[in-house]
Symmetry: C5
Subunit: 273 residues, 5 copies
């Protein structure tokens, strides 16, 4: 249910292009090399890594590779299909009993739905099932939030270390004002760390951490629908009510389109809202 999210690399590429455009439009192509000051890049990246090291434990930092991979992927959920799944499960459970669902949930292939239905088959109470499933959702949310906060903090430390680099450069420049010819270029170099820090924060770290937050939010949303669905199946609710309840979470436009497709649903008046 994960899909490559091309927007992340595309966005970073467009952002870099804008910088090249800015340089090119102001001063021509010959000035690109000036914007590649490796020591300045090392200072900003090194400084923010230093702050990240003090900020987190080694256990937290181990989550970093997963986090980066995550930003280039997005979840792919078909909410309408999800409603359909639980409608079917509930219909079958009412006809043939909960035990008959064991094979079906394996075929669905979603471990969270499977876990929930198996808990129901095991005869656990509604409250226990809800507790166990919610505990997993909360634990997942906490884990994501922890790993996301590394990127988030990097977005805060990057401009700060850009400014620290600029301050060091300014102090050095001001200390030896006797040669006015070097004044401009020295200050230009000093400003580069601020440029790097601001760019890293506003093109990479802050947008990335927001994308991760959005992904987590959606995953929690989907898992809560699943919990509602499992509880509905477990307590033998009417498939129609389950569809009604879960359907309320699906965006309106989507439902209308579906209604146009299936003649059966066209009759249910209050489904076209």
């Amino acid at each position: 249910m994960k899909k490559l999210d091309l927007l992340t690399p595309v966005g970073i590429f467009i952002g870099m292009t804008m910088i090249f455009l800015a340089v090119f439009a102001n001063a021509g192509a010959g000035n690109f090399h000036f914007f590649m000051q490796w020591t300045s890049i090392v200072i900003v990246l090194g400084g923010l890594s230093a702050a990240i090291f003090v900020n987190f434990t080694s256990k937290d930092l181990k989550l970093l590779p997963t986090v980066f991979k995550e930003t280039f992927h997005s979840n792919q959920y078909d909410l309408h299909e999800l409603v359909e799944i639980f409608k079917n499960l509930s219909t079958k459970a009412r006809r043939e009993g909960l035990l008959s669902l064991e094979r079906d949930v394996e075929e669905i292939g979603d471990p969270f739905i499977e876990k929930g239905v198996l808990l129901a088959i095991d005869g656990h109470e509604e409250k226990t099932i809800k507790e166990i499933m919610m505990a997993e959702v909360i634990a997942m949310e906490d884990r994501h939030q922890k790993s996301r906060s590394i990127i988030e903090k990097a977005g805060e430390y990057a401009p700060a270390w850009g400014m620290i680099g600029t301050l060091v450069g300014l102090v050095l420049m001001l200390q030896s004002l006797n040669d006015p010819a070097t004044l401009g270029p020295n200050m230009a170099i000093a400003l580069l760390t601020t440029l790097y820090g601001t760019l890293l924060a506003n093109l990479v770290f802050i947008p990335m951490s927001n994308k991760l937050a959005g992904n987590t939010e959606e995953e929690v949303f989907v898992k809560q629908i699943i919990i509602e669905g499992v509880i509905g199946v477990q307590s033998g609710q009417n498939p129609k009510i389950i569809e009604e309840k879960l359907g309320a979470f699906v965006p309106a436009r989507k439902k209308k389109n579906d209604a146009e497709e299936t003649a059966e649903e066209r009759e249910a008046v209050y489904d076209q809202a």
Copy 2:
């Protein structure tokens, strides 16, 4: 129930006029062209789009056209009429039964009221009706919040990318200080991206996202009144209590005016508060 909100285009027009006024008052009409640096505009808009691409998924971005359309419209609800509707529905339901309302709700033409009353007619319990209707309100709120946050983030990235453009311009300017004659104009161009970024944020993105938030808040407010009303009708509450309860949400002044119009209400002492 949607109306064109003229204030959005009027506000943007006034804001642009202020900029023209500022240029004209300081330096005469001949300088307008200087404020139209296409590359600077491309850098700010391109940079903030880049950040938005990294920040959101393609599914989120598909909401953008709807969002922009939404900022030029505002909701049009007559709270007093709403109270009246539920007073009438409740009176009829108590006299002729819930089933008699089917035709009436169709005439009202509000799909949310219709959905609620049809759920009541279907014989669902109060708790179930509330759950299904609230789920729809929460889903709408989430959807609006998600789409609004694109505008909101644009309002954060715009000034940042304005500053990035200015930093690039400053670095280039400082690098070649040998010609003092070009110093001023170069710095002027560098500052333009900051001006564009700040203007976009404070005239377009931030105010627009606030307008959207206000619209959503009001829609949620109205839908909650509708839920209260539907529950009142479903549970066969006294029309007078329904009027009392829903009426508490209507602003005081409005109620007084209405009281002056209808003699009947003038007798209800505690309605003039």
Copy 3:
């Protein structure tokens, strides 16, 4: 129960005096006229109005006159008198029945107390009375919050538009650096919009919106005491318990002073805390 709040005009007057003092102390009385640049004032006020127009709907803006009037007034509540009122109402209700209160509440002259007691006389349940009264409090809070946020947003847009005006001025100034004699005065004019924006925000809009927030908070506080009191009267609670409960909300010092005045209360040991 509303009183003119002289502190608002007095504060604005003192603030303007400080500006005059700053000009006078630095450069003598002859420079006052320089700080009155009408175009700069128009740009800041026009720009922030433009942002406000995009930010709000016309329905919101209609609340503006009421809001401004409100900042020059403050509520006048005597909490101790309020406790006394409910003590008396409860005493009478226990002796002569709820119906006997109809005349009394009319004399008190507070429409919210009147509404509550009349609901009790009508025989509504505790839960219904609480719901209707709380709905009114929440609706009032929402309404105040909405209208206050116009002032609040003006306090955010004012410095931003001050900066936009300054940026326009700086760009124009830098564009024509050939005449050093005009450099200073031009930059002085450019800085004026920032001064206006900061002054408007920190002398008028931000303090005003805070005053409104404080007034609303107090009004909600008083209305919650009234609800507690009405419920106490309706459920036939002991006047002593009502006094105890409501009295807990009254500041300690006040209660001690009152205790010194009335000998009766001096005996109630735990009332002096």
Copy 4:
């Protein structure tokens, strides 16, 4: 239970010393007088007072003297003694009845404990006692929060008015650039208001409002323990359970030390955690 908090004056003294040190180290003792520009001080203090006047009502401002006195005092609570008090009260209440506690609570001398126990003696229910005592705690918290917010807002307006003073100075300076000799000193004077504003905020107002917030938080914490204790005594709970419950709030280290002192407690294994 209030003690003079020497840290407040000591901190302000150290802060002023740092400023003197900074002047002395940079430019020698002869420059101190330059930092005492009375008009600048008046502008910053006058401006922030003006904003405070618009921001608050006269009733709020009357709390100011108490607030200032409060910052130089801190609460002095012995949590362990508190646990002991309620253990003893509960033991006596179980042996001799609630009525026997009247004399004891007078001797303790804490009006809040006294109030609570007297309510219990009067035969009020647990819920009523909790409601009345919590109402007092919440009212105290609100009152403290209101008065603290005056200091808090002063910490926000001080830097803003420092900047307003500097802007006025800069505008005046730029207006008459013809005499370069006065340029430096004029700008120095302009910067002084920013220095005053930042210093007032970061040495006086912000730290003071934080100290007040900490004091209030602790007072609420202690009062909540007292409420727990009173309820325990009122409902005739086992002294051991009361000790266990209240003891959980006392910091771990403290308990270990105490355990070392009293042999009796050393046996209670789970008390050494």
Copy 5:
């Protein structure tokens, strides 16, 4: 269960190296001494200590040594082992009774688990056990939050006092502009306090306070699992349900690995999610 957290000193070391690198790359090794201005360091540290003194009480400051030690340590919890412990305790309790656990919990060596189980053995009710244990968790959280906030506030005051030092330096420099030769170096010295303040905040105080917050959060998380486990054991829950419930908190990957190790768990289908 505490382990030395090497990342804190390593991070600070890398951060300092970046500064040296910045100086070295811009101006060679001979300029290091210039960045060591003892009076500037004293001003920033003294000023922020002054603000801290005003901000906190002496009781709060006594927590400081513990806090600093804490930042160089991190918790070491094996969540899987914890689940195992409670599974075993519950199995034994069901077979041999709660009393049989007294020896076992002593061997586990965790005072919080011991306290909880002893409370269960003493025959306290579920609600009482939960209350006492939660009170301890909340008290610990409060204590940590209080001590952490000293570091947090230092991170806010450090840049402010850096700016105050720079303002004093700028005022002194501008006051005597007659000697242009000293202009640069004087301004360089003035900027140093800003550099120190920003560095202290972004390398030491802000990251440290975040690390402490993370540690506390994890400790609370683990203690909540322990409370769940103790309640499960006390109420005689099925070891399988306890494992299921607590297992939901353990990250997914971990569980899969464990499943690969122990053949027994491989059969539990819904444990591999």
